[in-house]
């Protein structure tokens, strides 16, 4: 079953705070010239159907919660791709008072695609690497057995994913503590 993962990665795309440059490039990859569908990639609008979450733009206090929610709705195994300079590090907006930084401040990121915006070849390469990582790492195998009735995700014990507890918990706390200013954390 897991062998078919690299043949049909379905992506869902979330625009955090992007200038739309990356979004247009991502959509351009689905057009006849680049044709991501020949690798089985489908652009689904629904996190519950998706395998790869592509995030463009920098994360801020307002959309961190939404991004976490989209990520939580995806059934595992799942991959996160941070696309573009802003998605990777916050880009030129990194020092803004409302910006938290890259996507990895909120959810664990597996592949970073650099560029402003990234070249279509880089985007395709990023998708291919995401599914290769997924296939190579046994920690991404589904837990199986017990059905998850609630959509609130608790981190499974077996999944050894690089997430620092501070990064996961920080955004909402910041927002509640001080909605106007960015805290030095």
């Amino acid at each position: 079953m897991i062998g078919c993962v690299d043949r049909s990665p379905w992506i869902v795309h979330y625009n955090c705070n992007s200038c739309n440059g990356c979004d247009i490039e991502l959509l351009a990859c689905l057009t006849p010239l680049y044709d991501l569908e020949r690798f089985g990639v489908l652009h689904v609008g629904n996190p519950k159907h998706a395998d790869i979450l592509v995030v463009t733009g920098s994360v801020n206090h307002r959309n961190a919660r939404v991004l976490k929610n989209v990520y939580d709705q995806m059934p595992g195994p799942r991959m996160v791709v941070a696309m573009g300079a802003c998605g990777s590090t916050g880009g030129i907006f990194a020092d803004c008072y409302n910006v938290l930084g890259g996507v990895e401040k909120v959810i664990p990121v597996d592949v970073w695609i650099p560029g402003c915006p990234p070249k279509p070849e880089a985007i395709i390469d990023g998708m291919v690497r995401a599914v290769q990582l997924w296939k190579a790492n046994p920690a991404f195998q589904p837990q199986g057995g017990a059905a998850r009735m609630s959509l609130i995700r608790r981190p499974p014990a077996s999944a050894a994913r690089p997430v620092t507890p501070a990064a996961a918990a920080q955004p909402t706390q910041n927002e509640e503590a001080d909605p106007d200013g960015r805290q030095s954390s």
Binding site: C4, R7, P32, D35, P75, P77, A147, L151
Partner: protein, 286 residues
């Protein structure tokens, strides 16, 4: 007369073969679609890869009732396939197919997602649009053959297409709805994924989405079989007709935008039903 044991074997083989046919048809469908848009397109077995991947994913559900409806949808489609292959009563087959669609609708209705409910309501509208035409088709076959049994489809000795030409065109519209093609792709927005975010299937994830995909393979195979049955006296010509009809559906899928359900309902009840009734009147007075 076939013995019971042979009948069971035939039904089992059909139930196992139908999804394979449906998956292949959908694979070809996706490649032809891509070529029409001057793309390379996915590999032939892409629908199989998709389902294999979905089966391996984590189990996420909102409630158990929804999952039961997904299984019922699949089960009644399997039952309908078996009944068709065994040549049973066509009114019974229509009923079983309707129950299968109703299970899908209830599955979409039993969650609180608004998109799922919009999808279900549109599915009801689709059912309202195509069911009368299917009934007309069955009546037309009865007027030709004098029998409601699917096994007597060649009883009149001439192909159905010659006695039911107008109903065939009406059935092409039904085909577009059942294959989730534009301009009637309303309940799932199968190709335009963003419109109502896959509508009726929005809350199904992982293995349960795979169940619905496999059910759609059965649907595709059944529609193909009915199209081929319009020239049942010679199956080679029948399959050719089915392939051409499928090609026309793909062409229209690429030509048309999706339309509203009001448009679908009004046109199916005027054009589709008008064609069917005209055909029946002609058959009756002939």
């Amino acid at each position: 007369m076939m013995t019971n044991m042979t009948q069971v074997v035939i039904a089992l083989v059909a139930v196992l073969l139908a999804p394979a046919v449906g998956a292949l048809l959908q694979g070809i469908d996706r490649i032809v679609n891509a070529r029409m848009q001057s793309r390379v397109g996915p590999p032939l077995l892409q629908p199989v890869y998709d389902v294999m991947k979905l089966l391996g994913k984590e189990v996420v559900m909102l409630n158990r009732t929804q999952i039961l409806y997904a299984w019922l949808h699949l089960f009644f489609l399997m039952l309908a396939t078996a009944l068709v292959v065994l040549g049973q009563d066509m009114i019974m087959i229509l009923l079983v197919l309707a129950v299968s669609t109703i299970a899908l609708i209830l599955g979409g209705m039993c969650v609180r997602s608004p998109y799922s409910r919009i999808g279900s309501q549109r599915e009801i509208m689709q059912m309202l649009s195509y069911e009368p035409i299917l009934v007309m088709l069955v009546i037309g076959i009865f007027l030709t053959n004098g029998s409601f049994m699917a096994r007597d489809i060649t009883l009149a000795g001439k192909p159905l297409l010659l006695t039911l030409p107008l109903i065939f065109f009406a059935f092409l519209l039904v085909t577009a709805i059942k294959l989730k093609k534009s301009p009637f792709d309303l309940a799932t927005s199968h190709h335009g994924h963003q419109e109502i975010v896959k509508g009726i299937t929005i809350e199904y994830a992982g293995p349960y989405l795979a169940v619905l995909e496999i059910a759609h393979w059965y649907e595709t195979a059944l529609v193909f079989l009915v199209l081929a049955a319009f020239w049942a006296t010679n199956w080679k010509i029948g399959i050719l007709i089915a392939i051409i009809s499928y090609g026309i559906e793909i062409l229209f899928d690429n030509l048309c935008a999706r339309l509203t359900y009001q448009w679908m309902l009004s046109h199916m009840w005027t054009v589709g039903l008008g064609l069917s009734v005209t055909n029946l009147i002609w058959l009756y007075w002939k």
